[in-house]
């Protein structure tokens, strides 16, 4: 069914080497609009590297990224790529520690909604109406992720699980075309994982976001994802629906251990 649609993002023959290590070796993948896609693999497989290439932090040595059908130019900067509609969260959290929850989410919102915050030259003031509009949307996201009671708390003082949620809120605030989540459930207990899984599902089903995520919890991945790409030592070793991937012998050997 998904094969008929045009991919939102296509990575073609991505190769990237760091020093002597080939982090990604000729990896191609597609992300289709409206799906939740997982990138899985053992530690060191190149998953975060792949996300960094998609989001523009790394430039691949070979290969190209196509976003919405157009080839991405080599000298596009990460903030320009973000402005095109790609938002992400980070494995080790990258919140603005000095700001409150609200501040973090507002930054995520306002920066994207105006293609360039400095595009109007030295714009010292702010338009009241615009700000109110954005504030409304941010409040919706805060309600959606149930973080209303920590709005004013400085991000550095939040417990880990809530920090992850605030980072997710910041990414959602940009209303991105593509949402990249790097291990959104790392370090959480079962209850917290179920919460985040529910939010991710809601974001996809109710709000229509296209999501690509890296995750280690196989139960979660099999439950919520439409398609999975498996990486191992920089190579793509499998791709398909959860059932297909579960049954692939290479995957079983490299990652899942004994057949589930």
């Amino acid at each position: 069914m998904n094969e008929k649609k045009e991919p939102l993002l296509r990575a073609e023959n991505i190769t990237i080497t760091f020093g002597g290590l080939k982090a990604l070796n000729n990896v191609s993948l597609e992300i289709y609009p409206g799906e939740i896609m997982a990138i899985i693999g053992p530690n060191g497989a190149g998953k975060t590297t792949m996300l960094n290439v998609i989001n523009g932090f790394y430039k691949p040595d070979e290969g190209s990224i196509f976003f919405e059908g157009k080839r991405r130019s080599k000298d596009l900067k990460p903030n320009q790529i973000a402005a095109q509609g790609i938002a992400r969260t980070f494995q080790n959290l990258a919140l603005f520690k000095g700001m409150s929850t609200l501040g973090n989410i507002m930054v995520g919102r306002t920066m994207k909604m105006h293609s360039n915050p400095f595009s109007q030259g030295l714009y010292w003031g702010f338009s009241q109406k615009e700000e109110i509009e954005h504030r409304k949307k941010v409040e919706e996201i805060i309600d959606f992720l149930q973080i209303a009671n920590i709005r004013r708390t400085p991000a550095s003082m939040l417990p880990y699980g809530l920090q992850k949620r605030v980072e997710l809120a910041r990414a959602l605030a940009a209303e991105p075309k593509l949402l990249l989540l790097d291990e959104p459930m790392a370090g959480m207990n079962l209850e917290e994982k179920e919460d985040i899984a529910r939010f991710v599902l809601d974001a996809n089903e109710e709000l229509g976001y296209t999501i690509a995520l890296i995750e280690h919890d196989m139960g979660v991945v099999m439950d919520i994802c439409d398609r999975i790409v498996v990486l191992d030592f920089g190579n793509k070793i499998a791709e398909g629906t959860p059932e297909e991937v579960k049954a692939t012998p290479e995957v079983i050997k490299a990652y899942l251990g004994t057949a589930e």
């Binding site: 900067k77 903030n79 402005a83 980070f90 520690k97 400095f118 702010f126």
Partner: protein, 295 residues
Amino acid sequence: MAFFFEVLVSGLMVGIMYSLVALGFSLIFKASDVFNMAQGAMSLFASLALYGFLEQFFHFPFWLAFLCTVGVMTIIAYVIVFVVLKPLVARPPLMLFMATFGVMYLLEGFGQSIYGTQAKGLEIGIPDNVYEVAGILISTFDLFFAVIAALLVGGLAWFFQKTRNGRALRAVSDDHEAALSVGIPLLKAWYLTWVIAGVVATVAGVAWGTRIGVQFSLSLIALKALPILIIGGIDSIPGVIIAGLIVGAGENLGEVFIGPYVGGGIQTFFPYLMALVVLYFRPYGLFGKEIVERV
């Protein structure tokens, strides 16, 4: 007792003027992670430029001369970011720091070659009277600049807390990568930061140029900024202001009350002593952000 307060008050006023210089350092460090050795030279160049517009090359009225000086400092800020920061973006901070030394020498050299090395008096019509308030003598000159400094700091605080651009700059100073990932253009953020620092340097240059004359030791005022930044925490604007007050008051009080016992002339290094003490108890400064690494 009144004498104590007099010394204290005049120290506080001087302290605010020191803060003006330290503010520039803090702004740039917060946004670009660079310790700008050239900040003092920027203040110096600003006051030279102002003198040039007022007396040496033109005879503009003050408001015009000030605007022109701000314009000149804006251009200098752009040039510094474009020529020095942009090529060195990914390099270690130490390299950027050394580059700012280069900028410092360049600015001082240019200042000399364009404006000459003589000390110049800057007369801009600020009332220089002495009033007596509750038995304490207060100079209107100091008061004037204390008010200006307060307005400037208030304006900066409003800018950083309430405007979109200000929020963007705070985000950049907090986490470069995260700022990039939400679409903030790093280079433009730096331009804006350095321009603001240039404006702050202009105000500081005007203040000090009027106080002690436009002379090349102005760039040495920057050395007073170092203990302020250590005491207050380099990345905290309120910290810089309060530390400035502490240093100003401290050096005055120290010179007057402790000086006679140790031979006098201690006001130059007394702030450094204070900084040493603060470093012992609070290495990040009184208000600086404590860097907590997640293990």
